[in-house]
Amino acid sequence: MKRDNTKIIDQYLSGELSDTERIDFEKKLESNAELQKELELQRNIYEGAKRANTRNTVKSVGKKHHLINLTKWIIGGIAVIALIVSAVYFSMQLNSTSEKERESTTQLQIQLKSKELIKDLPREVFTWSGEDTIYLSESGVLISVPNEALLQNGQPYKGKAIIEWQEAVDGATIMKSGLSTMADSNLLETQGMFSFRVQAENGGLLEVDPEVGIYLQVPVDEIKPGMQLYKGEYDKDSVINWVNPVPLEKIPVPVDMSELDFYPRGYEDTLDKLKLSQEKEYRDSLYLACEVFEMESNDDQINKEEEITNTSNLAEHRIYDTLIEDTLYEYSENQEEVSAVDSIQYEKFNSIPPSKVLAFWNKKFNNTILATRNFEKRMREIHETCDESLLKLYTSNLDRPLYFIDSLAVTRGYKQFESFFAERVGKIELDNPHLNKLHKFYERGIKELREQLKLERERKAQQERKWDNEVTTARSEENVRTANRKAQAFQEEASLNHEHVRKQLGFTQNIKITKNTIIVNIDREVYAATRARKTTKVSFNGKTSVIKYNDFTLEVAKHKNFERLYVYLLSDKLNSYQRVGHKQGKVDYPLNDRITYDIVVLGINETGYFYHEIKQIKKGTFGEVKLKSISESDFEKRIITLNQNRLGRPMNIKDELAWLKLEKENYKVQRLREEKRKFLERVRKVVFPCYNNNGYKDILIEVFPTVVTE
């Protein structure tokens, strides 16, 4: 790019070209794409410059806005501040001036009690009426002149006074005023120079009482470490020489605890993203809930259920031992799954326990170094270190300057605290009885919070245990019931078959006699056929009887949508209803030819019941069957009607329905429990940067099988 173009484009854009020059330029422009681009770029730069100017204005307005909001606490805090600076004749108030760190202030050099005000520098004048007053200068410097800050001839001055103020904060002003930045022969880097002079109403110069001090708070864009306060003295050539550097000690500004944020980084944002309540009470309690006690079992809820030892009512059906064993096996499998989820163990990891944060985040700690923006910043770092003892350094040294504690943190190897140390933030005076009280209050607070949390957890664990016991009891009852029902159904069906065979063979007794007079019990064949559900021929003496079983198959559409799926057979010959199993939604269960069946297919998931019924069949290949949603009461009504219509003494189905209802409820309970656990895990990962419970995921298994086959 040639410089010529820059100039001519600039002249063109600002209308400085003559007509001929302009036409000439426009011609060039038409044919020269490169030039067009350059013109566009230059225009953009103008806009960029305009914008940069507007941004400056907006930023300075913002800075002022935050400063003005601070005046309240300054007035409130003056008594404290005055004590702290008693040793320095003129102290700088250097603190975070707003919630934003980059608004922090610092100060460099100050010219005080100068006999001559700085030449060529505009002067601001304020009047002081003898009371605590705050002024805001043109560049946003906050000047606080407290009551009794001024002396006349060594005596406190009570009357009105005039304050003269000069400031040079940007390079241009400093140069224009011919201010030097020399300290003897060393060149200083400056962040601002100020002059301050007070005259009594009658014209005499006043002095600042070194016991009280005056406070300045200077907004800067960047905190530069190592900045010091210098006093300006004119040398013989009337050039200011900066002498007597004093390290700046920032005075921590007490802020109300309710305005501070001591949560770990990202905690609130995570909750905001999840659109969770913004109430502090809720957020505190969730934060506390993250606390992990060492080797904690998440809910102390390992249910060791007694094995089923009472098999007395099963003993009668010894013939079906295998059937019962299957059922018991199924039962014990379920138990293992439940207890595995409930026994999550937390390995020890370093963390800042929420109770130890919440215990001081309390208005009792207002007016201590903990209730400051400075500590808020440190707390954020403390969270990142996961070092509980680091927090203790601050909570147990409330009477020390922050920079002193920062230095302890640095010696422990936490480099990130060096920059805090460099800020040299001082202390807030506390009288000793108050300090002791606070220490006690803090310790008690931690204890109380932890006890409260333990109690709450115990209460919840008990609730969960109660529910789980209920479910377990219902399941064990259901298992016994199922075993009984299966046995009964089998026996009834076998009797039916038996009766049929005997009739056909013309028997009156249960034996057939062969030529060799061997007694054969036909029961065996009948039972075998009934168990296998296979068409079987029983022959004797030229006569043949057939026990006939017909194919019955169906497949439930989208069976995976249901957490549980059951197929009930309600027959017109057996008192007992039957519940048959399925594999992946497929049912294959040959039907006894001598019985007419009503079939009910039931799917359950958290949203409710899904139903299909087939009436009055002996056989059938039904292919895909679609279940339709049905209300709980409708479902109950239908199944009770079907059950009652089939024969004189149908088996009671109400217990079964109650159990189904409980199971349905339990899916929801378990899912919510699991979701809550996962949620807490998620928050824990935000709250504890050093937390990484990898084991947790592995232990997580599905609480319930999606398909149960019998």
Partner: protein, 174 residues
């Protein structure tokens, strides 16, 4: 609007900062980003109001809130499809192209910020505050307006080179 009136207007609008902050935070914006977005919206508001044919149909607060919403979604590039974002602008009487250009000019600010304090001061005083070259020469301690003008060209040249290299770099990165 002269500089002083503008400042007063901005001070008045800045009082709404807590409301905007709450609003942005409820949209998932971090509080550290929120004030940048708010200030950017104030800049956009100021610049838009400077346009002769611009008509403000809503209260300034709502305009700023709407711009904040646009900027936040635009920045976080999530949830909202571009179409919906543009509708947001239409409601505020802001053309889509105009906004895109603004975002471009914002990048130019980075250029202005990296050409040195003196150059920055010179260009912003001239193009932003509209000060005369004589005034600028005085302010920056230059001998006369001619020196200031020559310096202005040098600064512009510097800015153009930097902008061009930045564009080249970002193209390479693509």
């Amino acid at each position: 609007m002269d500089h002083k009136t503008q400042k007063i207007e901005l001070q008045r609008l800045y009082k709404k900062w807590p409301d905007i902050k709450r609003y942005l935070r409820s949209k998932g914006c971090l509080s550290t980003d929120a004030e940048d977005i708010f200030q950017e919206a104030l800049i956009i508001y100021t610049r838009k109001c400077e346009e002769k044919d611009f008509q403000l149909d809503v209260a300034p607060f709502h305009f700023i809130k709407g711009i904040c919403k646009f900027l936040w979604y635009n920045q976080s590039r999530k949830n909202k499809p571009q179409m919906e974002l543009n509708e947001e602008l239409t409601k505020l009487n802001v053309e889509e192209d105009w906004m895109q250009k603004e975002l471009q000019f914002k990048k130019m600010e980075d250029v202005i910020n990296s050409i040195g304090e003196k150059c920055k001061e010179l260009l912003t005083s001239f193009y932003g505050l509209g000060l005369s070259m004589t005034k600028i020469a005085e302010k920056l301690g230059m001998r006369n307006d001619k020196v200031a003008k020559a310096q202005k060209y040098r600064c512009l040249q510097k800015a153009k080179e930097l902008a061009a290299s930045k564009t080249a770099a970002s193209t390479e990165n693509l």
